[in-house]
């Protein structure tokens, strides 16, 4: 059964087989006139001249280069793995009204997903009530039986989430995917803002832009809140897989900004169900681990036994309530792309509310009708492996070759639970300053949500841009760039 929002419109028309509609433009309204909230910025560009942007873009690149703001790609062995973070200087601006709705929608979603995780790993009421098919959970790669019946501190599983939003052809915000494991990108959100503030103070003078730079402080507060021995003097560590991880820059950035220890697995040791940090002054008890190591590698005693990245015994320490793990292991099942299709029902089930933010319509490959339809219309679909992220394991129908489609059809037949399909949504577009020209490119938005004492949505997020003309793939690992994201105060 196709799961989609209750509404008519372009996306649904597309799902029904109509041709692609025109993408929504964030910057231009009717008649190619900038939308009202972009006018002050546009007037400034008009006054100072467009070549000013070239100078600023150059300054921005230099600043990012000097500060070592990089990301890592795995694809090409012949080149270095680090790249300077690609940044477009023209900010994306979100009005206060729009943000109020987004914030409420994101909080609602995260609250429901946490209740869902708590339920899945305990009583499984939602499965008994037939709201989510047990097959999706029990055939899901990221459902972790090893953590059954464990009570995480304060019943919170996803302390840090990044929810990817797109806008459809009518400008409606839709959730594209939830990232509930170790979402990355927040350091780039902050770096983007710092660079933007430095090189374009005159833009900021024309707007009341809400801050994002306090994210590390908010995160630290949430991490302290989780400390089993209380927030005062809690020892918090950020557990990184190490320098070869694509988000290593972010790990060092966040550890530095929060003033917490950056540790690798070998720096920690468990004893009597407690975790300790090895220091020059001996062992120091650890209260909270912000782990950026995937579940599989977290504890060789419980998950993959060949992992050298994790900490042996850490799950037992967590079970005993002696340490908090952020995010909780097992959270990945709630951002599985097949489970995603049920999030609107999950919200209704646990909260008794209508979802504020809608999903992109999603076809389940375990459903025979859905599958037949998708196989007949592969050129118009995005097909995704359910447990992959970062744009890996994906088929972009319109850009695919016949042999790629045949290959995916076979993969789907072999393991239908592992794939979902969505009609191609023309992501909204925005102007970018590229090689001296103003060009429109597709983009999405990843706001970050912190769940501590309360749920807080940082006003902003990471706007990712598909820098290749016409492309809908925004992942930085696949040639994407980024923009500063402004949420207006009023």
């Amino acid at each position: 059964m196709l799961r989609q929002f209750q509404s008519s419109g372009a996306v649904q028309a597309q799902a029904n087989g109509a041709g692609p509609a025109m993408a929504y433009h964030e910057f231009y309204g009717d008649n190619f006139r900038p939308r009202d909230h972009y006018l002050p910025m546009w007037e400034h560009i008009q006054t100072t001249g467009q070549q000013m942007l070239g100078t600023k873009a150059h300054e921005a690149h230099l600043a990012l280069h000097t500060e070592g703001v990089t990301f890592t790609v795995y694809a090409n062995e012949d080149e270095g793995i680090e790249r300077v973070w690609p940044f477009d200087i023209l900010p994306r601006i979100i009005t206060a009204t729009e943000w109020t709705m987004l914030e409420a929608g994101l909080k609602q979603r995260i609250r429901a997903l946490n209740l869902f995780l708590k339920d899945l790993y305990h009583g499984q009421r939602i499965l008994k009530d037939g709201v989510v098919p047990p097959e999706l959970i029990y055939r899901g790669k990221d459902f972790r039986r090893e953590i059954m019946d464990i009570d995480p501190p304060h019943d919170i599983y996803t302390h840090i989430s990044g929810v990817d939003l797109i806008r459809d052809e009518e400008g409606r915000y839709l959730v594209l995917e939830d990232n509930l494991r170790t979402p990355s990108g927040v350091s780039y959100m902050i770096e983007n803002r710092m660079v933007e503030r430095r090189i374009l103070p005159e833009f900021f003078a024309r707007y009341k832009v809400r801050r994002v730079e306090h994210y590390p402080a908010l995160l630290l507060q949430a991490l302290r809140f989780l400390a089993p021995r209380g927030p005062d003097n809690a020892t918090i560590v950020l557990l990184t897989p190490g320098i070869f991880n694509s988000a290593y820059f972010e790990h060092t950035f966040l550890a530095k900004e929060m003033g917490v220890e950056l540790a690798e697995g070998r720096d920690l040791v468990c004893k009597n169900d407690k975790v300790y940090l090895k220091t020059t002054h001996g062992l120091r008890r650890v209260d909270v681990i912000y782990r950026r190591v995937d579940d599989d590698f977290l504890d060789p005693l419980v998950f993959r036994s060949d992992s050298a990245l994790g900490v042996a015994g850490v799950i037992n320490a967590w079970r005993a309530g002696n340490v908090a793990l952020v995010n909780a292991p097992g959270s990945g099942i709630a951002d599985d792309k097949a489970v995603y299709a049920y999030v609107p029902e999950i919200i209704r089930y646990y909260l008794g509310e209508s979802p504020i933010l809608q999903n992109v319509p999603t076809y389940q490959m375990t459903d025979h009708q859905d599958r037949a339809y998708v196989l007949d219309n592969m050129e118009r679909m995005v097909i995704k492996a359910v447990a992959e992220s970062g744009g890996y394991g994906m088929l972009m129908g319109p850009a695919s070759t016949a042999s790629q489609r045949t290959e995916f059809a076979k993969k789907i037949a072999d393991n239908p639970r592992n794939y979902i399909a969505q009609p191609v949504v023309q992501l909204s577009r925005h102007i970018c300053y590229l090689d001296g020209e103003l060009e429109s490119r597709h983009l999405d938005l990843r706001p970050f949500i912190i769940y501590g004492d309360d749920i807080q949505v940082v006003p902003g997020g990471l706007t990712r841009v598909a820098l290749t003309k016409g492309s809908l793939v925004v992942n930085s690992s696949q040639g994407g760039g980024s923009k500063d994201t402004w949420v207006l105060a009023d």
């Binding site: 499984q124 499965l127 008994k128 047990p134 097959e135 959970i137 029990y138 055939r139 039986r145 090893e146 953590i147 059954m148 019946d149 070998r266 040791v269 468990c270 004893k271 009597n272 169900d273 060789p300 005693l301 419980v302 036994s305 042996a312 015994g313 037992n316 079970r319 005993a320």
Partner: protein, 306 residues
Amino acid sequence: MNYRIERDCRIQFPAPVREHHVQVRLAPWEDSAQALVSLDLSVSPDAIPVARYDGFGNLSHHFSVLDPHRALEFKLTAEVETRLANPFDYAAVTPARERAWLADSLHQAPRLWDFVYHQGPLTPALPAEIGGQPLPAWRDDIPVLTQVQEASAWVHAFTAFDPAAASSVAALTALFDAGHGTAADLAHLLIAVLRGWSWPARFVSGYQDPAYFEPDDEAPQGTKPRPQTLHQWVEVLIPGVGWRGFDPAFALVADDTYIRVAVGRDAGDVSPIRHTSKGTGETPELIETLSVTRLGDAASVQAMGG
């Protein structure tokens, strides 16, 4: 029946290791069919074992030795009372109602789905036939118990239990070629067949009465008993009663001569020993001994106690 179980294990390294963490699943289950009378686990070098139950209900213990050492030893001593003298002593559900009974059980306890859905390298989806021989197929109107017993007998006939085999054949396809395998291999094959019927089946590891290790009647006189080892079999959800054990290695239904230790989707969930340490990375030697002794039936033990 009462049994004493003594299990010694020594992990010997060629060079000293440190930060050695061990998790064992060796203690018998406790439920209405099996009672744990006593349990003791000692470790050397000195460490405090911590007990916990995993998501499948298995009792496990973990402990750690952080200081450098070349050998780690532990000894588990348990006394257990098994009560399933007659596994068929229950009110059966009629064949026509069995699927409904199963649906209701799955509805009440969604965790059972694990034993229906799980497929993996050890218990893959099977084709309808292998080497021209059809696999046991589901038949309506035949009691599940009968069908499972027949499937177990089929596995037993198709692949011989090889008590001498040191390690699992692992891949079921290789099992067909080999024609023989370990008790775990045969259990996996039976599980794969039953899951193909969408019927819950789970992997069990445990101990057996010492009689199973005695030489059979055809063995030459003076043949010594086989060394005792952990055994593996299958449990199937039987309508009207719950889990019942079936042992394709011996073509038997598990009764009170079987002592359950751990259950899971396949062998991966029940590993008796998992451990990790820091050192030179060389593979340690694992020296294990097992002794299961029958203490006589419960009544006589009680009488002795009283």
